[in-house]
Amino acid sequence: MLAKIKSYGLMGIEGFAVSVEAYVSRGMPAYDTVGLPDAAVRESKERVRAAIRNSGFEFPVQRVTVNLAPADLRKEGSVYDLPIAIGLLAATEQIAPSPLLEECLFLGELALDGTLRGVPGILPMVIGAYGQGIRKVILPRENAAEASYIEGVEVYAAENLRQITAFLGGEPTLTKEKTRTWDSASIAYSMDFADIRGQQGAKRAAEIAAAGGHNLLLVGTPGSGKTMLARSIPSILPELTFEEALEITKIQSVAGTLRGTEGMASERPFRSPHHSASTASLIGGGTRAMPGEISLAHYGVLFLDEFPEFRKETLEALRQPMEDGVVTITRATARSTYPAQFMLVAAMNPCPCGNFGSRTAQCRCSQGQISRYLGRISGPMLDRLDLHVEMSEVGYEDIASKSRGEPSAVIRERVNKARSIQVERYKKEGILFNAQLTSRMTGNFCILDEGAERLLQKAFASLHLSARAYTRILKVSRTIADLEGSEKILAHHVAEAVQYRSLESKYWGDTRR
């Protein structure tokens, strides 16, 4: 007997329909799984056998062939346990034919006792299946939350195999999950901008970066608050939109970091890998081409503290995804494309000892040491960091002062306003914020008035700017104008944007040019 069950597979965060075909025939008892299964899929045989027996059914003592179609795409993970078990039960007529068998999508791992276990990647699978016309999904209870955000899909969450077979037999053992509506919950942040003393300039730069999704470089002496500022940035990031939350969740779902949560991302990710991070862990990789830190930071912040301490090739590997917003990981057996639209916040000391340029401490580094240290940050990388800010030691008056700074909630309000202007403006372009503008789009949306034009021309010559730096200044000016609610980009907007490029000549000027 032959049975066909619908399931789903993933390649990166995109999926493909998998038809699980179970064929049971007379002959020498044997069990074969075909259709490019990986080790976890091949091992499903033992889990399925035990689960079927422990659920009170017979495992066929016959020639069993399980085919996962299409046969030319690699099938990974334990998600096929459930469809294989259901297929075998249907093929051996231990469950009666039912229209549900053809309509439903089956996903889930089986424990030996027939209990269902959650699997990673459910959200992108259900979204993909919905696009292919599937409207009913049976999956493990553990994965119910993330799947129930998709409108139009009936989600049935099950605890064990027995419940599902009874449900397919017409018993009401499973009930439809309520469709969840998503809202960006008000999150309690542990860090607040109000607690950062002084550093007005850096705070302003952080606000601009947050509003337009720009990259930020913080240079400063040890203890000047670079790390504290960076860690406070999540508290001023704009609210998530549903589309953004969906993409973030897709990546987390594939990476398997979603388990035990509400099912949908409610805040922007903040990732801060240590500087010993390998290129593959940052960019993505491994034999299965899994997403790396830059993709996990999609629509959020990637914070790289001690920026020059990262390995050179690791930093240089960031360049292409920073420009494109996506990264394609290619391995011998897998190729995946992941979005990586992150806001890079990099923090560094001005020299190895940290005191170069300090007002209070003496720098002990030689000129060579300093230029070698700064030289680890390449020109092309510096070009891609839109806002460069210097942070110096906080004076006594600032530390001791009782008055608190502007709270994050107030700044976030401004950021939200600027962000919604951008979302509205780029509705037809398919982008969400200024940092995503392509150079073609900047021509349409970054209109400079005459004074601004002249100013930029002067700056371009005197600061020896590259073409890339030019477009990036335009985008930052756009954000500064948006924060002010101005449709036109005026001279003082450009002036501020250009000013965030001046550090380059101060620190890197004589080492590079």
Binding site: G27, M28, Y31, V61, Q62
Partner: protein, 116 residues
């Protein structure tokens, strides 16, 4: 009692047990090439190839442990030869192990002990 007699006694006890369970004997000690199948039985549409393991005491472990992968391959090849000779390809096929305790004459029947 030497080893061969012990084996023969085990097979007698196992066969008697299987016949009480409703199986019919088709062939005893089927040999082909270098393979041997102790008992070939039939019940309904199902052909059973059974390996009998006799033990007097547990000093050498369970009988089922003695059916190693090599021994399994041996039985499978024997089964294939039998099917070829008798043209019984339409049948359901099962490989069983029968553990016989020679002291108590008890039989432990392990159905579907292994597959291809």
């Amino acid at each position: 009692m030497n080893n061969r007699e012990r084996g023969a006694k085990g097979e007698r006890i196992a066969l008697a047990y299987m016949e009480r369970q409703g199986y019919t004997l088709l062939k005893k000690n089927f040999r082909a090439e270098r393979c041997e199948v102790d008992l070939i039985l039939e019940q309904g549409d199902t052909l059973v190839f059974a390996e009998v393991k006799a033990r007097s005491g547990s000093g050498y472990g369970f009988g089922r442990e003695a059916v190693t992968p090599a021994k399994q391959r041996n039985i499978i090849t024997g089964a294939q030869a039998y099917l070829l000779q008798t043209n019984r390809f339409e049948a359901d096929i099962r490989f069983d192990v029968l553990e016989v305790d020679l002291l108590t004459e008890k039989v432990e029947h392990i159905k579907d002990a292994f597959t291809l």
